[in-house]
Amino acid sequence: MASSSTSVVVSNKEKENKNTKKVTLKSSDGESFEVDESVAMESQTIKHIIEDGHYSSLALSLSVKTTMASSSTSVVVSNKEKENKNTKKVTLKSSDGESFEVDESVAMESQTIKHIIEDGCANNEIPLPNVTSGILSRVIEYCKKHKEAAGESEPSVTSYTSNSTTNPLTEWDTEFVKVDQNTLFDLILAANYLDIKGLLDLTCKTVADMMKGKTPQEIRETFHIKNDYTPEEEAEVRKENQWAFE
C-alpha cells in the first residue's frame, strides 16, 4: 500500500439500491462518492469490510492507492450497520394461508420462531397453523412496537410492567388490549404458542383485571358463564367462601 495515511468511510447503501449494488465512500472532509460496489471492491480493504459486515466504528489509517479519490484523503470506516439492520426477513404464514413478511429480529421476539430459525428450518415460510391472520397481524404489530422500543433503550423495557413511569409502552399496551374478548383470548393462545413472554403477561393480566372487583353475577355476565349451581349448592359454596365477601 502507499505510504500516505488515509482513512475511508464506507457506508453500505444496500438497502436503498437493490438493483446495482452501490456503496458510498465518504472522505474525511465530507465529500461523498457513490460507486458501484464492484468498483469499490477493487480495494481489498473495502472489500473485506463489506464482506465482513460486522465492522464496528473504526478509524483506520490506511495507505490507499486510490483510483477513487484524487487527493490523499483520510478515510474513516464507520459502522453503518444500524441503518441497515433488519434487512434479513422471514415469512410467517397464518393458518388461513396469509403470508406476512417481517424482519427476522422482530419475528424472533417469539421464542418458538427463534428456535425454528436457529434450527435452520426457516428456509421458506414458517407455517403457523395455530394462528389466524387477524391475530397474527396483531401479534406482529406488538412485536414490532416492542422491538423498536428495545432498540432505543434497555431491553427490559419491552417486558410488561404495570408501572407506567418506567415503561413508556404502557399506554400503547393498554390501547393494544382494548379488543373484544374472543380476540383477547386468541391473543393469549397465540402468545402462549409463540412463546412471547411480554405479550402473554400483558394479555393474562388484562383478563385477571377483568375479574377483580366484580360480584359473581357481574363476572358471569362479563364472560358469558352459565351458573350451574343449584340454589343449595350455591349457598354451600358461598358459605365456604364467605370470608372473601366481607
Binding site: L189, A208, T215, P216, I219, K226, Y229, E240
Partner: protein, 513 residues
C-alpha cells in the same frame, strides 16, 4: 416417632377404595385410566378384587383429601353425549388451556379467588387448585405459617382469623362431568404411591468395610457410584435422631424449607398433613451453625475425609445439608454443583435413587446448552409415570437402589441423580472435592459462565482464583503435580478418565421443589 405415611405399601388401597369415591363416576362406565390410555379393563377401580398391576395405588393418608370429582379428558370421549362442565362453567374462557386459566388465576389474590369460586362449578374446581394457594402462602407468609390441612385453609385461617375454617366441610363440593387432563394429572400425582415395579431394580454395587484405598481405586477414581454399608455405626445421630428428639432439641429453630424458612415443629405439622405432587422439602445448609449439637452427632465417613474446599474456611461454598422430608418429597434430576462429588447418609427412613452417568441425559430432562439451566418439567412421580419405563429397554441402564437407614451412597461428580423419599426420612449429605476431582473442579470454576453455573456461594466469579490460591498455600505444588499426572495418563491412554469427566460440565445445581 415418624409419621406413618409411606410410599412403600402395596396392598393398602384396595380396601380403601370405597372412600375414594371421587374416582368413580357412578353414572357411567368411567374408568380411571393412565393419562393417554382411554380404556383399560384392568384399571377398573370399582372391582376391588382386581389385580392392580396396571393401575395405580394411592397413598395412605391421615389427612382428608379434597375431592371434587375431576376426571381425565379421555373419560369424556368414552361418554358420548356428555358435556364438559369445565367448558360451560368457563364461558368465553373455555378456549384457553387449563394451564393458561391457572396462569390467569395465579395473578389474583385470595379474595378474588374466593369470590370466583362461587361463579360456577368450573371456577370452583379451578380456584380450589391447591398450588394457587400454596403460592399465595409462600409469597405472603414467608415469616412462617401453620399448615392447616390444605394450602387454601392455611391461607384463609391466617388472613381471615375471624372466619371459622373448621366449619367448612373439608371435602367440599363434588362436581359432575368435569373433565380436565391437567387438573386430573395434578391430583393423580399428588396422591400416587410408587408402583412396585419402579422400586424393583437395585443394581448398585454394595460394599461393607472396604479400605479407603479400595474405595479410591475402585470407585472414586473411576467415578463410579457405590452404596456403603456399616460406616455410620458410630454415629450418635443414628441412635438419637427421631422426631421427638429433634423437636426437643430444636423444635423452634427456623430451617430452610424450599423458598421459605419454617420452625421445625411447623414443618413436621405440615409433613403430617400434606398430600401434594411436590411436597416442600427441608434442606438446610447451615444446620450445624444453627444447632451445633446436630453437627456434633455425626462425622464424615472415613472415605470422604479429604475435602479440599476446606482450605477456604468460612468462605467455602455451601457443602453440608440436613435433609428432611415426607414420603414423596425429593429432588428431580440434577447434577451437583461445582463439579463436586457427594455422599448421602440416610439416618431415618428410606430413599429411592436413580443415577445416570455424566454423558447420559435422563429421558425427559432438558439441560440448556451452557448447562446453566436444567428443565425437568415434570414432578418426580410424574417422571416415574412417563419416563421411567423407557429405561427398561436400554442397554445401559441407570444405576438404581433403595438406600435405607444406616447406609451411605457415594454420588460421583457429574452424575445425574434423582431421589425420592419413600417414607418420612432424615438424612445428611455433603459435597466434597478430593485430589481425584480437584482439576475438574478448578476447570468448572474457571468456566466463562461461572456466574450462572457456580453455586452455593455469593462470590461466584472469584471462587476459582480464591480456591486455587488457597490450595497453593496449603498444599503447594499439588495442582501442578496433578496436572502433570493427568497429562502422563492422557498420553498413555486413548480415552482418559479426564475425558469422561469433562462431560460433567453439562448441567448444574438445580433443584426444583
Amino acid at each position: 416417632m415418624l409419621s406413618c405415611k409411606s410410599l412403600l405399601s402395596q396392598t393398602i388401597n384396595k380396601k380403601r377404595k370405597k372412600n375414594k369415591s371421587k374416582n368413580k363416576n357412578k353414572n357411567s362406565s368411567t374408568r380411571f385410566s393412565k393419562k393417554h390410555n382411554l380404556v383399560s379393563k384392568k384399571q377398573n377401580y370399582e372391582e376391588e378384587e382386581e389385580d392392580c398391576e396396571e393401575g395405580f395405588n394411592f397413598k395412605t393418608s391421615a389427612a382428608p383429601s379434597h375431592t371434587h370429582g375431576v376426571q381425565p379428558l379421555g373419560n369424556l370421549y368414552i361418554n358420548p353425549g356428555s358435556i364438559n362442565s369445565r367448558n360451560t362453567g368457563l364461558g368465553n374462557l373455555q378456549t384457553l388451556t387449563d394451564e393458561l386459566v391457572l396462569d390467569i388465576l395465579g395473578l389474583l389474590g385470595g379474595t378474588h379467588l374466593g369470590v370466583l369460586a362461587t361463579v360456577s362449578k368450573s371456577f370452583y374446581v379451578f380456584t380450589n387448585h391447591e398450588p394457587l394457594w400454596r403460592n399465595l402462602v409462600l409469597e405472603n407468609m414467608n415469616a412462617g405459617f401453620l399448615y392447616n390441612g390444605s394450602w387454601k385453609s392455611t391461607y384463609v385461617a391466617a388472613c381471615y382469623p375471624s372466619f371459622d375454617v373448621s366449619s367448612v366441610d373439608v371435602s367440599g363440593l363434588r362436581v359432575r362431568d368435569f373433565y380436565s387432563d391437567y387438573l386430573f394429572q395434578s391430583w393423580l400425582c399428588a396422591n400416587l404411591e410408587m408402583k412396585p415395579e419402579w422400586l424393583q431394580r437395585d443394581n448398585i454395587i454394595r460394599r461393607k468395610g472396604i479400605s479407603v484405598e479400595d474405595f479410591v481405586l475402585n470407585f472414586e477414581e473411576p467415578n463410579k457410584p457405590v452404596l456403603l454399608e456399616g460406616c455410620l455405626d458410630n454415629w450418635v445421630a443414628l441412635q438419637n435422631w427421631d422426631r421427638d428428639y429433634l423437636l426437643q432439641l430444636c423444635g423452634d429453630v427456623q430451617f430452610a424449607v424450599g423458598p421459605v424458612d419454617m420452625k421445625l415443629q411447623e414443618y413436621f405439622r405440615y409433613a403430617d398433613q400434606v398430600m401434594e405432587e411436590r411436597p416442600l422439602y427441608l434442606f438446610d445448609p447451615k444446620f450445624a451453625e444453627k444447632v451445633p449439637k446436630l453437627g456434633s452427632e455425626y462425622e464424615v465417613p472415613v472415605y470422604f475425609r479429604e475435602d479440599l474446599f476446606g482450605v477456604l474456611g468460612n468462605e467455602r461454598p455451601d457443602y453440608r445439608w440436613i435433609i428432611m422430608g415426607p414420603a414423596g418429597s425429593g429432588s428431580s434430576f440434577h447434577i451437583d454443583p461445582n463439579s463436586t462429588s457427594a455422599w448421602n447418609a440416610v439416618i431415618r427412613g428410606s430413599k429411592k435413587w436413580i443415577l445416570f452417568p455424566p454423558d447420559v441425559v435422563p429421558p425427559g430432562v432438558h439441560p440448556s446448552p451452557d448447562g446453566a439451566e436444567v428443565a425437568c418439567p415434570v414432578s418426580i412421580i410424574e417422571w416415574f409415570m412417563n419416563f421411567y419405563g423407557a429405561t427398561k429397554n436400554w442397554e445401559k441402564k441407570p444405576i438404581e437402589c433403595i438406600c435405607k437407614a444406616g447406609e451411605v451412597i457415594f454420588v460421583p461428580n457429574g452424575w445425574w441423580h434423582l431421589v425420592i423419599n419413600l417414607e418420612e426420612s432424615i438424612a445428611i449429605t455433603q459435597n466434597f472435592v478430593s485430589r481425584r476431582n480437584l482439576l475438574n473442579v478448578l476447570d468448572f470454576l474457571k468456566h466463562p459462565n461461572a456466574n450462572a453455573l457456580v453455586s452455593g456461594t455469593r462470590d461466584r466469579v472469584n471462587l476459582h482464583d480464591k480456591f486455587k490460591n488457597a490450595i497453593e498455600t496449603s498444599f503447594p505444588g499439588t495442582v501442578d503435580q496433578l496436572v502433570q499426572k493427568a497429562e502422563e495418563k492422557k498420553a498413555q491412554q486413548k480415552q482418559s478418565f479426564w475425558d469422561s469427566v469433562t462431560d460433567s460440565k453439562v448441567g448444574a445445581f438445580k433443584f426444583s421443589f
